[in-house]
Assembly symmetry: C2
Homo-oligomer: 495 residues x 2
């Protein structure tokens, strides 16, 4: 691979001296325009066998541009809080906001490369990790991110020398962990094998929207100028209105309105008497408490999603769950309008940042499903966007499950008559927080559209890893017991 790179690529001192100041000007202007436009982030990812070279280049980019709007991120060992979360969490949290540039050293490519090289995962698992990366970059590209992935190439001899050098001064000069130095040694020993893996990784992740750019890094002048020019060009081109290279939307299937609606299959007349309710709720709560306090839960976590018609009783259900949990390991996240920090990120970012650490529980009152419910029905999201959301959500939840997080999703369903009754009742008395707003009435008028959206949502996002539970909620007692029992059953089965 990259045969052409084995040819000499050099830039003389004179040319460099002449070029460098001009390039710097272009870069800073590009950076400023990017910030001013503020409508997409730039992700610079430096990888390849020239470890010293890619760090040096990162430094050079930083000192050329305005460091205040660059966010350097290197795959140093994850912190405890990061190790306690799914693999990609630490990269989500390091993403640059719109208008800013993030520089990543190997980052999400580090893990798969290392794990496969050290035989911690087999080739099948390696493939799965590659797919994870593809989905991640696809999502970011779809949200508008501009990618510049440079593959630093060095001839074998030079590159082995570099790694050795790394082991010597390197460790001090770049604060490499013992582990990293060890890995370097291993790479040098089985160099060709390492390159094979790297090449498979690179060719499998070179896409139209996030292509790998081979970069001959033997000559620092050539390396840095080429990288800088490529970055400046890419940013200017996009700002000049070049259409972003967006991957084809994952789902192309069109939503069919034919066939029965899942919600019609529910028997909303199911009910419990107060006498049956009390003991059953207590029992389910007791089980939930025991399960979440069990040693087995300590390296797992629970994410519960509460969606449902307005006035279906989400709040009441959540309260019954919270009663059974240790407040110190429980967070309830009400999803309202995104903050401006959240608006500057991909739409899943605000949910990623709330993912619980091991041994904890997070309850979402409304969730990432807003994308395919209210945003779809109200037209806040373009059809392509909410269409691809089905795929993105499936992989999001798969990543959580993959990390041992138990994902439980509830749709609390009431019928139109019952909703009217509750709206009226609330308008009469009831806690202020239950006030019925004009919006509630507006949503009610769109009952049919929401019903279709719910049907499609459940249809497309009910997976083995994260199944939907439809809750007959005309009767609050029945609904609450079903919610608690479902949580307990799922945990029991999973732990």
């Amino acid at each position: 691979m990259f045969e052409s790179l084995k040819l000499a690529h050099e830039i003389g001192e004179a040319e460099y001296e002449a070029e460098e100041p001009l390039l710097r000007g272009r870069l800073i202007d590009a950076q400023f325009d990017l910030l001013e436009a503020g409508d997409f982030p730039v992700i610079v990812l430096l990888s390849g066998m020239d470890v010293l070279g890619r760090s040096a280049a990162a430094r050079q980019l930083q000192s050329w541009m305005d460091p205040r709007h660059i966010r350097p991120y290197a795959a140093v060992r994850p912190s405890e809080e990061e190790r306690d979360r799914p693999r990609l969490w630490r990269f989500w949290r390091a993403l640059p906001a719109k208008g800013r540039i993030g520089i990543f050293l190997n980052a999400w490519y580090d893990g798969p490369m290392r794990d496969y090289f050290l035989d911690r995962i087999d080739h099948g698992q390696f493939g799965a990790r590659i797919d994870e990366i593809r989905r991640f970059e696809q999502l970011l590209a779809q949200e508008g991110a501009l990618f510049l992935k440079a593959f630093f190439f060095l001839p074998k001899k030079r590159s082995i020398k570099g790694i050795k050098k790394l082991k010597k001064e390197g460790a001090a000069a770049w604060k490499l962990s013992e582990e990293e130095a060890e890995l370097g040694k291993a790479f040098a020993k089985r160099y060709d094998h390492a390159v094979e893996i790297l090449e498979e990784l690179v060719s499998a992740t070179s896409t139209a929207y996030a292509p790998w750019i081979p970069l001959a890094s033997a000559d620092p002048h050539y390396r840095d100028l080429t990288l800088g020019r490529t970055l400046a060009d890419a940013i200017c081109e996009r700002l000049a209105g070049a259409a972003p290279k967006v991957p084809k939307s994952g789902t192309s299937t069109t939503i069919s309105r034919a066939g029965p609606n899942l919600l019609d299959s529910l028997d909303l007349s199911k009910a419990l008497t107060r006498e049956d309710y009390k003991p059953r709720l207590k029992e389910a709560q007791r089980r939930l408490t025991a399960l979440t306090l069990s040693r087995r839960f300590e390296d797992r976590a629970l994410v519960a999603v509460f969606e449902g018609n307005d006035a279906a009783g989400k709040g009441g259900g959540i309260r019954r769950v919270v009663q059974a949990l240790d407040p110190r390991m429980t967070r309830v996240i009400p999803i309202a309008a995104p903050s401006d920090e959240e608006q500057a990120q991909p739409y899943l970012w605000r949910f990623w940042r709330r993912i619980p650490p091991r041994g904890h529980v997070t309850l979402f009152d409304r969730s990432w499903y807003g994308r395919v419910l209210v945003e779809r029905v109200e037209g806040f999201a373009a059809e392509d966007d909410w269409m691809r959301a089905y795929d993105e959500i499936r992989s999001f939840e798969a990543e959580l499950a993959d990390d041992g997080i138990v994902v439980v999703k509830f749709w609390l369903a009431i019928d139109k008559k019952e909703q009217l009754r509750r709206f009226k009742a609330r308008e009469a008395i009831g806690y202020k927080r239950h006030k019925i707003t004009e919006e509630d009435w507006r949503n009610r008028r769109k009952w049919r559209a929401y019903k279709q959206a719910v049907h499609d949502m459940v249809d497309r996002t009910s997976t083995a890893a994260a199944p939907w539970t439809l809750v007959e909620a005309n009767d609050k007692y029945f609904a609450r017991v079903k919610v608690l029992k479902t949580l307990a059953d799922r945990l029991e089965a999973e732990l």
Copy 2:
């Protein structure tokens, strides 16, 4: 202390059954109004010797109110990221936003209590920790926080039994760490000593704005109803317009315009030739690199603040510093308008969240001093607010220094003539990011006012722990070398 508590406080089943639903309604309404008004946070802090009782009460409050707007925080062992930061960092990051309620179990009282009881700190240090707490709560109160600090009292026998019980089921039931269980044992053994310490802690931190409320917790009904009523009353009272109990502003001294201005003492003609500049900069950068990569720096950190006149060359200085640092341990934080998440918190919150972990460097381009500069001059902050900021900033920086963080602060000074020259030059050519805005001209017209503000700022916030360095910046070469040299010298002296 709290003799009255030794009397029986009980509420019968019947009264409880009658009261409970009414109280719940009041609490939820209060909570909703609080959220709607959204202009102050509520901090509920539960402490005292009744460890089981205070957890149970926290749960009860949670299940009475809407858990979506409550943030429970218990002093469980700090995470790695928290241990890597100053003591109060973890509490700052757990603060409820305006309109929300935070429930804290012992929280910032835990450390001092434990450390003094276990003889890790002497009485003098214990006093210092108490002052730290007082300053912390004073700042929050000044920012409008409503405090409810309840001291859970149990008679000796019952309370020792409780702690023993804690050790038995407790450990399982409440996920107590071994350490906490051990501590409980120790408390039970030297109970009277523990109570003495607790009483000293409580009486020293009972202030008009954050008083301790003694609460007899032997009877759960009495305990929970009383706590709930007190909370509902406090919130309603404040919402009904009762003036918040605000501590007297720390600084009452008025700013004197008499006497010479510190800035006049600078010799702005200081300069370097390009020939002298290059080698000196390189040398200072080399020193800085070596120091920040040294083993000694690994459990320290560096915070550098860059303030100065517009066009004084902050950006250029910062770039020269960044060139000398490993990108992986460096963050540059440009301070612009606060995000809405930041606006919902005390003004220092947005800086606390940026404090570097051990072994890292954070450079602030503008900083918390905006409070006493632009906010003072433009009248964005009331006089009381920017006046007390001097004290708050001193203790903020003291807490950083106390944790081993080296704090370096630069004021880059140019004279009015030089500024005009640079403005003109930039208007002619120069990078877009340097565009001169109408605001720049406006600030320039307020030159005198800013000069006074800078004088007062340096005068009041230059401490041994965090001294100001005034940089003669009419000549960029001289300024950059002074900045780099100062950083290297400070680190050398501190490490």
